[in-house]
């Protein structure tokens, strides 16, 4: 479904040149969930932003269902591929009602039965129709993230790009949102590409995980390999130990992988 090869993203030029993503290649089958994990600055979100073409400074090849992507966003592929962002406080327009927020993509993509689609979208993410004319500031963070998911789903995409969809939420709300994403994926056979810094969240959601460090793939693991703690790379191993509970001796043993 998604076929990325030799992806490079470079910001700036000359002395301030920063190679955010370097020679990254991967394939995601239709209906699969693929995770990208890594520390801040590892390039995981930049991969997502290149695929969604929010960043245009990339070279290499990105294919969606066999078709080569261009650098400019086009209506056809945006409809097939939607994104959910990390911060539901920043990603919803504060002066638009929920109805406006959900209507906008329908209008841009000239879809029919808009009214009915908005109501279905609310229902799909477990929100009542009484939410329809509220403003984002009137609802909770978890409800906002449901709206962001509803907005992504309303165009009936095949692919969801999820950029840390639960890291701004409390753990109890995170559980609800992860369950929602999992259920929707099963019902609609969606393909997920999920970015997170939380190994346990990615292991819960995805079948395969790529570990990124300094713009490169350190390794690609199956969830079973990640869970059983048998990665090949020292970098991944350290990330795994750091994700567990606090241990003084372990913390002192950390090295930096530059």
């Amino acid at each position: 479904m998604i076929d990325v090869s030799e992806l490079n993203v470079t910001f700036g030029q000359g002395r301030s040149e920063l190679r955010a993503v370097q020679d990254v290649s991967f394939r995601i089958e239709a209906g699969e969930s693929f995770g990208l994990v890594g520390e801040s600055g590892s390039g995981k979100s930049t991969v997502l932003r290149a695929i969604s073409r929010l960043t245009q400074d990339w070279t290499g090849s990105i294919k969606i269902a066999g078709a080569e992507l261009e650098h400019r966003r086009d209506r056809k592929t945006t409809r097939r591929m939607q994104m959910v962002f990390q911060d539901p406080y920043g990603s919803l327009h504060p002066r638009h009602t929920i109805n406006d927020i959900l209507m906008e993509p329908l209008e841009i993509h000239r879809m029919d039965r808009r009214e009915a689609r908005v109501l279905t979208a609310l229902e799909d993410v477990g929100l009542g129709i009484e939410m329809r004319f509220r403003y984002p500031y009137q609802i909770s963070g978890g409800q906002r993230q449901r709206i962001a998911i509803a907005r992504a789903l309303i165009l009936e995409p095949e692919i969801l790009l999820l950029d840390e969809p639960t890291s701004a939420l409390d753990v109890s709300v995170q559980a609800e949102i992860l369950n929602l994403l999992k259920r929707i994926q099963r019902e609609r056979g969606l393909t997920y590409l999920m970015v997170s810094h939380d190994l346990a969240v990615v292991a819960h959601m995805c079948e395969r995980v790529a570990v990124m460090n300094r713009g490169r793939f350190a390794e690609v693991l199956t969830t079973e390999q990640l869970r059983s703690g048998t990665p090949k790379q020292d970098y991944t191993r350290q990330l795994l130990t750091a994700s567990g509970r606090y241990d003084r001796d372990v913390a002192k043993s950390f090295v930096s992988f530059d």
């Binding site: 559980a175 190994l199 950390f254």
Partner: protein, 280 residues
């Protein structure tokens, strides 16, 4: 042994245009020279508890307590002048995000030195030497170089070390750390915690660690208060997290995905309205 800090029935209420909001409703605890965790979700009152101790609640907040005593000083009635002597010097606070807590136009070293100067009559030269020493203590490799940097030039982990250095330099008795590591990567998070751990051990300080991460706090602290809706639901000895009895604590523990326990769907926390009203 008398505790360093003793709090009984602490209440913080905010007057808003929609009526009073009770953020903290009857919190009691003692703190010795130990590591105490306060854990809860957003809105549970954990940060407001920490702020009330230093009289840093927002202007529309009202604080009341049967007792709030630090080393024989009644924090409820102490004069503002006296509080200024306590804040920073004897009880200090580390905030979540160094990017917002450091002054962006001052060199980080000078900010640490300033924290020392405010509470002592030392010379600038001595303050500078102390600040450099402190940067070394928080394991910054090139203290001379980092001293001269501005906040935007340091990484998140280094910024938080600078904050810790600033809070430690007056040698306080108690440190209140409000989500000190949640803006950091996991490996850096562990290193910063190890640093706090060392400070508490070597200097015999009391530490209050405020966090949303129950598993992390329980692995780090000696005791954990679990808060919900402004109340303490349960106090747990850190090693006995698995024996937690309160359904809220159990619910919080269960809804977190774990690497070593795969689950198809995550159990969702069912909130009992009685938790909010209990004890009213």
């Amino acid at each position: 042994m008398t505790p360093l800090l003793s709090v009984k029935d602490l209440r913080v209420t905010f007057e808003t245009h929609r009526g009073p909001v009770k953020a903290v409703r009857g919190v009691s605890f003692d703190l010795g020279r130990e590591r105490l965790g306060i854990v809860g979700e957003s809105g549970s009152g954990k940060s407001q508890t920490g702020r009330a101790l230093l009289r840093l609640s927002a202007g529309n907040g009202r604080v009341s307590a049967d007792k709030m005593e630090f080393d024989g000083i009644d924090l409820m009635t102490a004069s503002e002048r006296k509080m200024r002597g306590i804040r920073g010097a004897r009880i200090s606070m580390i905030m979540q995000d160094p990017r917002y807590s450091l002054n962006p136009v001052l060199r980080v070293g000078d900010q640490i030195a300033e924290a020392f100067l405010v509470h002592s009559s030392a010379s600038r030269r001595e303050a500078r030497a102390q600040a450099l020493q402190m940067l070394k203590t928080v394991q910054i490799r090139e203290p001379e170089k980092v001293y001269q940097m501005y906040p935007h030039q340091v990484s998140g982990g280094m910024g938080q070390r600078v904050m810790i250095a600033m809070m430690l330099i007056p040698n306080p008795d108690i440190i209140i750390a409000d989500e000190p590591t949640s803006a950091l990567d996991v490996t850096v998070q562990m290193q910063v915690l190890a640093l706090l751990d060392d400070m508490v051990r070597e200097r015999g300080m009391g530490l209050i660690l405020i966090s949303h991460d129950l598993n992390l706090v329980a692995s780090f602290c000696d005791r954990v208060l679990v808060m919900y809706a402004g109340r303490v639901m349960e106090v747990i000895e850190a090693g006995r997290l698995n024996e937690a009895k309160h359904p809220y604590t159990r619910g919080l523990l269960n809804c977190v995905p774990e690497l070593d326990e795969p689950q198809d769907m995550l159990p969702v926390l069912q909130r009992d309205p009685a938790w909010v009203t209990a004890g009213d």
